[in-house]
């Protein structure tokens, strides 16, 4: 199931999203650790996250987290639910549909103040 179409595509996207989330986690632990340096340092650093490029990054992060979580549920069903592996392809499309249903309105909410 990991060769060729949907299975491999899901596996590749899961890895790419996972690596991306990990890199953000590294940055996020360092930025929040600045809480220990007082409000001036912390607020100055946090201001970096309000620029439009960072706001797009926030939406990209949401996409990565959402896909990784939904596909993670798919992997759990494949591994633990009897017969789950037989519907792995259908579940991949379910992941895509659920992803779009949540992501599109969520991305709009996150970006509405800079789009409008």
């Amino acid at each position: 199931m990991y060769r060729g179409k949907e299975g491999m595509l899901a596996w590749m996207a899961h890895r790419a999203a996972g690596i991306g989330i990990f890199l953000f986690l590294v940055a996020h632990i360092i930025d929040i650790s600045l809480m220990g340096f007082g409000p001036k340092t912390f607020n100055k650093m946090l201001h970096l996250y309000t620029n439009p490029v960072a706001r797009l990054g926030e939406v990209l992060l949401l996409a990565a987290v959402l896909f990784h979580a939904l596909n993670g549920v798919r992997i759990g069903i494949i591994d633990f639910v009897p017969g789950g592996v037989r519907v792995h392809r259908a579940m991949f499309y379910a992941v895509i549909i659920l992803f779009l249903v949540v992501f599109i309105p969520a991305a709009y909410i996150l970006l509405r103040d800079i789009i409008l």
């Binding site: 690596i19 409000p39 912390f42 993670g72 759990g76």
Partner: protein, 129 residues
């Protein structure tokens, strides 16, 4: 597989851990995102927001559990990816050593700030803003 670093039943526990921790992290991260990114919003988060959250020990425990599970899950994920693409044993050992050092440093930095943060500095934040 040649050049394998982890032996025995480690990979079985790794496989099981990724599925269990993944399910827990998914729930914690959804709460974290809805609260901070949708109800508050990134542009409104500042020192006093984080400080007032950390004046509650419940949120500190929440953040600590999420931090440690995410680091364990993410660190193990990166380990698996590195072992997949690095064929030579020397490169594997080098990459895993760097990952290990960064990983331990992040656990120390993250745990330290959550556990030692002094909420009385909230007063200071009000004065500054």
């Amino acid at each position: 597989m040649a050049g394998r670093i982890f032996r025995g039943s480690f990979e079985l526990y790794s496989w099981l851990f990724m599925r269990i921790s993944g399910a827990v992290i998914a729930v914690l991260v959804i709460i974290h995102l809805i609260y901070l990114h949708f109800l508050i919003g990134v542009e409104k988060i500042d020192f006093s927001v984080v400080a007032s959250r950390w004046s509650s020990s419940g949120w500190r425990i929440f953040d600590l559990v999420m931090l440690l599970l995410a680091l364990a899950h993410g660190g193990n994920g990166v380990r698996i990816v590195l072992e997949d693409y690095l064929r030579k044993r020397v490169w594997r050992i080098a990459a895993l050593t760097v990952l290990g050092i960064v990983w331990v440093a992040l656990i120390v930095i993250g745990t330290h700030v959550i556990l030692t943060f002094d909420p009385s500095s909230l007063q200071e934040a009000r004065v500054v803003s």
